[in-house]
Symmetry: C2
């Protein structure tokens, strides 16, 4: 039960089949395995031993796949670095889990050159990009050419495979420890029920440093016959071109990506007829966007995935059948889905007891994909993995059909005058307004009510709307206490690298110097 076994199996069974399409570069499975085995040898030469962390700071490319497999082949643990971080943040995360060797591509070579001064643990920088290596960095291609392929180090089962930092939505990144078993079972459980298993061409548009992109690739590797198409980073035109050119059959998109794709001016000019399945998730989707996407891609099966890095990541899936038109469609599309075959879900109240069926509480998860813990954070680990269940920090409920609804992040829940307001509900109502392109609802301090509801709105180009008109729009649709008291207009919302809204950035200026009580139970998680 080893992640390298997925690649070795494919290399044995279909050595010449295309494993990775990376622009003009195409690698067969045998070539990918060969290069991974050589990379393992190179890492050993740098002193990497079983269990050591190896970092990569790069955009998506075939080298990302080689990095993952090569590090596992060497017996090491991958530390895929968030490409949106500042040098200070990168350095802190490298030091946090003692990553001594960092691979870097041409896009991040300049930042990386300054890292040894900031990260005390860092011993070696290896250049794995296009073009000549910068001064002071070893050249991976030259090292690979000189290396003799290493034997697989034979790590697997509960051996640590990855330390993946979460913290896109909080200020303090934590290293999520995922084992070979965690990642492999997730790949199997999602591949077993993938709606299109044969002759797939999967496009990885999400960053591979993120569990979404990484797990998507591993699932493609499990599939009976699939190739993986990579784009260096999400860009509407690149994605549209890749789908048309490579006859992509399926992809995973976070809602922001899906929105930008279908709203792109040239969307209609591409032939996307090869597309059969769109997976979406990693952030809440608003109903207006989902409906628009289903209209824009009428022949495509949609499947929502709900999960988190701590669950490697998939916990629930909303299958294509639940997207079908009918009297239930509205409720179903607001759901996150049913648990996977290996995940169990329990909704607990503030005292940690199982909530009544239908009641809202914290979503907790148990299963073989749940992380081993946070790297060297025993207290935070104990808080989140209390009683054997992962406490997600998400508020949710299970409806009469057994569908999980994620109501909000516990910490995004606004408590105003003793009433709980779920920001997602208010955001859904705001998004229905024609002038609203995107929005975020947060709680801000209020002397009378503790918190009051505040909306941050990005207007759709060519539209305008007044603050009071938006509030009135909400009043017609939801209870008064849920409606924004104030609306702020902005050019854009702060997003993480994975496309997740970073509400803490919106909240920070309001709460400076004040403690905000987080609703519900101890909302550890991310």
């Amino acid at each position: 039960m080893q992640l390298t076994q997925l690649l070795r199996k494919a290399a044995r069974e279909r050595p010449q089949d295309v494993a990775i399409v990376d622009g003009a570069r195409r690698l067969g499975f045998a070539e990918l395995a060969e290069r991974s085995a050589r990379l393992a040898a190179v890492l050993h030469e740098f002193g990497v031993r079983a269990g050591d962390r190896v970092g990569l700071l790069a955009h998506n490319s075939h080298r990302y796949a080689e990095f993952l497999m090569g590090a596992w082949w060497a017996g090491a643990v991958v530390n895929p670095v968030n490409t949106r971080w500042s040098a200070a943040e990168v350095a802190a995360s490298l030091d946090d889990c003692d990553t001594r060797i960092l691979l870097v591509d041409e896009h991040f070579a300049d930042m990386a050159a300054g890292l040894p001064e900031r990260a005390a643990c860092l011993r070696s920088l290896v250049f794995c990009g296009n073009g000549p290596p910068p001064h002071g960095m070893a050249d991976l291609e030259a090292l690979l050419a000189a290396a003799w392929p290493a034997a697989d180090a034979d790590r697997g089962f509960d051996d640590l495979a990855a330390v993946m930092y979460t913290g896109g939505t909080t200020g303090r990144p934590k290293g999520v420890m995922l084992s070979h078993r965690n990642l492999l079972v997730n790949a199997l459980a999602t591949a077993a029920v993938f709606p299109e298993p044969l002759d797939r061409v999967g496009l990885v548009a999400a960053p591979m440093f993120h569990i979404g992109g990484c797990a998507q690739w591993l699932q493609l590797l499990v599939a009976l016959r699939a190739r993986t198409v990579l784009v260096p980073f999400f860009d509407e035109l690149r994605v549209l071109q890749a789908i048309q050119q490579e006859q992509v059959t399926d992809t995973f998109l976070v809602p922001t990506m899906l929105k930008r794709l279908i709203e792109h001016a040239r969307f209609g000019s591409f032939d996307l007829s090869s597309l059969r399945t769109v997976l979406y998730g990693a952030a809440a989707i608003d109903e207006t966007l989902l409906a628009a996407a289903m209209r824009a891609l009428p022949g495509v099966k949609f499947q929502q995935l709900y999960g988190m890095t701590e669950a490697a990541p998939v916990v629930c899936a909303l299958p294509p059948s639940m997207h079908a038109p009918g009297p239930q469609q509205g409720r179903r599309l607001r759901a996150a889905g049913f648990p996977t075959a290996v995940a169990a879900i329990r909704i607990v109240d503030a005292s940690g007891n199982e909530a009544e069926r239908g009641a809202t509480g914290e979503i907790t998860v148990r299963g073989p994909t749940v992380m081993q813990g946070y790297w060297q954070r025993p207290e935070e680990t104990a808080a989140v993995l209390a009683d054997g269940w992962l406490h997600t920090g998400d508020a949710g409920r299970i409806d009469e059909e057994g569908l999980l609804h994620v109501v909000d992040r516990i910490k995004d829940m606004i408590v105003t005058g003793g009433e709980n307001v779920f920001s997602a509900e208010v955001e859904n109502v705001l998004a229905e307004h024609a002038a609203v392109q995107s929005c975020a609802v947060i709680g801000i301090p209020d002397a009378d009510w503790g918190e009051k509801v505040h909306a941050v709105v990005v207007m759709r180009p060519g539209h305008t709307v007044a603050e009071q008109a938006l509030i009135a729009h909400c009043r017609e649709r939801i209870a008064g206490y849920k409606c924004p008291r104030s609306v702020e207009f902005r050019a854009e919302l702060p997003l993480s690298a994975a496309g997740k809204l970073q509400k803490f950035q919106l909240r920070a200026p309001w709460w400076e110097g004040q403690a905000r009580r987080v609703g519900g139970t101890a909302a550890a998680g991310r």
Copy 2:
């Protein structure tokens, strides 16, 4: 990670879809879950507690599915009883793992009535068949009607799920201990690469007390959309009728079943056009039969599965693509396949070291589906699970393409004058003769050579062939030392309930009172 989760998930997501077709009886997933939860309550009333064994002695029916799920729902461990056994054998296996409650259908009620006298552990007999309950047995349907559905006992992960007795091919049955994780990971790993995942209608023709039938059903339960069709036991006409009537898309057959099916006089008169995939395995297949089956079912994808109860069970699969015509086809069709995504295979020599690539040795297996051990047999467990690898007792080699070839059972290998003869090779040559319907090759005592090669042959109806003609047929095709020295003609070969040839029965009269040295390494296993 619980086996009951598979059923609960299906019951939640598609409650009204047909789960089981059992003759005229059709059960939806919600009904199957409801009946399983009631059965769990009934078992609790009989005093069954977490970890206790519960037996079933019955042909395949919807009750078999309920028994498996109901026992797991109750927190118990299933002991599915071999229906081919004598009362003495059944009693010994019940006593072996202290099974105190036995469910029994109408076919085995008479045998069961005598079991309490033979099996000291047995406390309760429950009748779960059609018709009125025999005297002294509780009536399951009446108990179910009166029961209140129990809550799921929440056993999973490494909790014991089944004790399945092997011993079809040896004289001394051992209880293979399989956990929830063993069986669930096997279902996921095989479902993930099943060539036809959508809208399947799977026919379970193998007995469900055997790991083959049991695992096939669990895999169908994992599938996105599948229903299961059951026949009480393998019978050519019933199977042909079921395929036509229920529009069966896939089934699993042991070679003997496949042979009887395609050779049936009325084979051509059924519409089998719904059939898309045939899985075969659990015993070696001869090339003549496989070629005939592929000709008889030209539109069907064939996939071989190699495994054993001790591996829950699948270790290797030979995918449909490896059955395609071409210069490699002959070699590939003689192979058992490639390891699954979770299994690792190592060929070891007689001293336990990894054999050179291409060399023949004992097949050893590692992975998350490998059993926990044999029930209360620490010594045999230690011998078979030595060094963390399952020693299968099969001799095999890995070819240049990475395909595993099972050459023979280690103990079926014949050592004659210092030469190793693999009985399977000789059997393949004999099977090519037009007059041979089936055959078995064994070693019998010889004063000069230690062992000599002996063939047991069943002639095809309407054909005859002389002993010397058959030996001459072999001499034209294989080395002289491999050819049978003697041929014995019989009306039929002794088969286990799972359709496996029981060579030990053929050998026994020859070796009575003599010790036979078993070739290769310590050939524990079965």
